[in-house]
């Protein structure tokens, strides 16, 4: 069964005001469990809105969000409707019952956040504690874990994300931007979410910082077998790290499926203004020049293999030598 399903989900900002804007328009998506899925699209295509629906921070205007087959929002609403029939609220006054329901809803919302860890855009702005250790421990502490367990989780998360143990006692505000980003990522990973959702995790980082973040994410995914969703507009990163890809444009899902299937529609993608990986463009040009070489190639490593194969087979052709 699919880990996450969006079933005909729409989301409208500021409904009923002159600023009304449709961010998601009847979107249906299936996300396989235990893989890395990339969500790609232009600014304003609805990517960021979509990820906020996954942990209950935002509720869809219509449609359902299913996690392991359960509607994450209905579980909350059901409580309000059926409060009279439930034993645990028997004997409470209407007021007290409402209060209890609200507390339970809040509790469920929080538990959902621990299951579906969300790393927002530019997460380094959320750091606030005196030390890096305390900041990473904020999530686990909210989960109500024991100190020993918290310590273990902080160290584990630091290891995944490349947070140097020597930073743990420093103030997060003394770190560089890329280092802060890793700390913020660790703060979510320390909750050991079964679904990890990241909104532009590498935005604004240099290539070294980018690969640090992505390697950390992949590391976490491989070790824990969790489900990962990454929002990005870099095709290069998608090609490198994702198993599945969802393409969004104008508040709708245009394509979804395994990476190779989606990337095979190169022409449609570039028509939408999404740049295909540079290495793919290069290989396509080589092919256009008459070299009998595979252009079904999306990373530099794959390209190297293809070129080696080409040379080993001693094929020639075209005027490019």
């Amino acid at each position: 069964m699919d880990k996450i399903v969006l079933d005909h989900v729409s989301y409208i900002y500021g409904a009923g005001t002159p600023f009304e804007r449709c961010a998601l328009d009847d979107v249906s998506v299936n996300v396989r469990g235990g893989c890395i899925t990339g969500i790609i699209g232009h600014t304003g295509s609805g990517k960021s809105t979509m990820v906020q629906l996954l942990n209950g921070l935002a509720k869809p205007t219509s449609g359902k969000v299913l996690l392991d087959g359960y509607d994450i929002n209905s579980t909350l609403d059901e409580l309000l409707v059926a409060w009279k029939d439930r034993e645990e609220y028997a004997g409470l006054s209407r007021r007290a019952a409402k209060k209890a329901i609200r507390a339970e809803m809040e509790g469920r919302r929080r538990r959902l956040c621990f299951r579906v860890g969300l790393v927002m855009q530019y997460p380094e702005y959320q750091l606030f504690e005196e030390t890096v250790f305390k900041d990473i421990a904020y999530g686990p502490r909210n989960m109500g874990l024991e100190d020993v367990e918290i310590e273990a989780r902080v160290r584990e998360a630091a290891l995944f994300t490349g947070v140097d143990p020597s930073w743990l006692d420093k103030s997060p505000f003394d770190l560089s931007g890329g280092e802060k980003r890793r700390v913020a990522l660790a703060g979510v990973i320390a909750m050991r979410p079964e679904v990890l959702v990241l909104d532009e995790p590498a935005a604004g980082l240099d290539p070294r910082g980018r690969s640090f973040i992505f390697e950390g994410i992949r590391n976490y995914q491989r070790t824990t077998g969790s489900t990962v969703l990454i929002v990005s507009h870099s095709m290069e990163d998608m090609a490198r790290y994702c198993d599945d890809v969802i393409v969004m444009a104008n508040a709708k899902v245009v394509m979804q499926g395994a990476r190779r299937e989606v990337f095979a529609h190169v022409d449609e993608l570039s028509e939408m203004g999404l740049s295909i990986p540079q290495i793919t463009t290069l290989m396509r040009r080589l092919r256009a020049r008459g070299l009998d070489i595979s252009d079904n190639v999306y990373t530099v490593e794959e390209a190297m293999e293809a070129v080696k194969r080409y040379v080993a087979e001693g094929r020639t052709g075209g005027e490019l030598v």
């Binding site: 002159p18 621990f114 790393v119 959320q126 606030f128 999530g139 909210n142």
Partner: protein, 274 residues
């Protein structure tokens, strides 16, 4: 919220929106004076009609405007009750034997006070907040207060400070929402527990917010210095305010209206406040 709620400005292309912001400030001042000068039933009828006319002209849904009155309902109810029960007059409604004394005069003044507060809010918000962007408003104030520069009041600096503050309200509110969401995603609990616990739960939101606000301020200051900003001296404007025919017509209208309200003070129709 989501970045769009900028004050109460309601975009539309009515004549009220198009007027020069200075005209609207002047009109708002006269309108306020009108509501206070008015004390006859005839005058209040005229004021009420004018307020409805303004709503019509501005093309803003009445519902939106009434929403802005809602927070003041308590004050309105309180003042009218006070007026009903504590105004002394000649025509007593309740029997002499009752402790509670209600006079016809009290009912009238309660009605007038209610109308006065509501018209005051509707009038000023229609002239200023609903139809004028906050930036245009500060421009207008800077221009109207310009003569104060002669006595060394730093009018431009105040206006610039106000513009910057207004400019950053939506930015900061967006940022607050983002940080709140980020901390909620890490399981912060903002809504349960004692007052002290709730206050403590705000720390993870306030610290990042302050840090980023201070950083923003430094960046903005650096950016302004890089472009050689040195105050208002000799600065030209992108949007030069200019009075047009419609502005003069509007100002003439409000003057006539003001004179009319003044004259209606003495019209003995139904009731005149003492």
């Amino acid at each position: 919220m989501k970045g769009v709620s900028f004050g109460q400005y309601y975009p539309s292309d009515s004549i009220l929106h198009k007027l020069d912001p200075r005209t609207k400030v002047i009109m708002a001042v006269f309108y306020i004076v009108c509501t206070f000068v008015c004390k006859s039933a005839a005058g209040f009828l005229a004021l009420t009609l004018s307020a409805l006319a303004l709503v019509f002209i501005s093309r803003i849904p009445l519902r939106t405007i009434l929403r802005s009155i809602r927070p003041l309902l308590f004050i309105i109810a309180f003042t009218s009750l006070m007026n009903i029960f504590f105004t002394q007059g000649e025509r007593r409604l309740t029997p002499e034997s009752w402790v509670i004394s209600i006079y016809v005069e009290g009912l009238w003044s309660a009605l007038f006070m209610t109308l006065r507060i509501m018209i005051l809010i509707v009038g000023t918000s229609l002239f200023l907040t609903y139809t004028t962007t906050p930036i245009a408003l500060t421009d207008a104030l800077e221009n109207l207060l310009g003569p104060l520069k002669k006595i060394r009041v730093p009018v431009h600096d105040f206006a610039m400070m106000m513009t910057i503050a207004l400019r950053f309200i939506p930015t900061l509110s967006d940022e607050t929402e983002k940080i709140m969401n980020a901390q909620k995603a890490r399981g912060s609990d903002l809504s349960s527990g004692s007052l002290l616990k709730k206050a403590k739960a705000l720390v993870p939101i306030l610290i990042p917010l302050f840090v980023s606000a201070i950083n923003r301020a430094f960046e903005l200051a650096a950016a302004m210095e890089c472009r050689c900003y040195h105050g208002g001296e000799g600065r030209t404007r992108l949007k030069v305010l200019r009075y047009r025919t419609r502005d003069w017509v509007a100002m003439l209208t409000i003057l006539v209206f003001f004179a009319g309200i003044f004259a209606l003070r003495y019209v003995p129709w139904l009731y005149i406040m003492g």
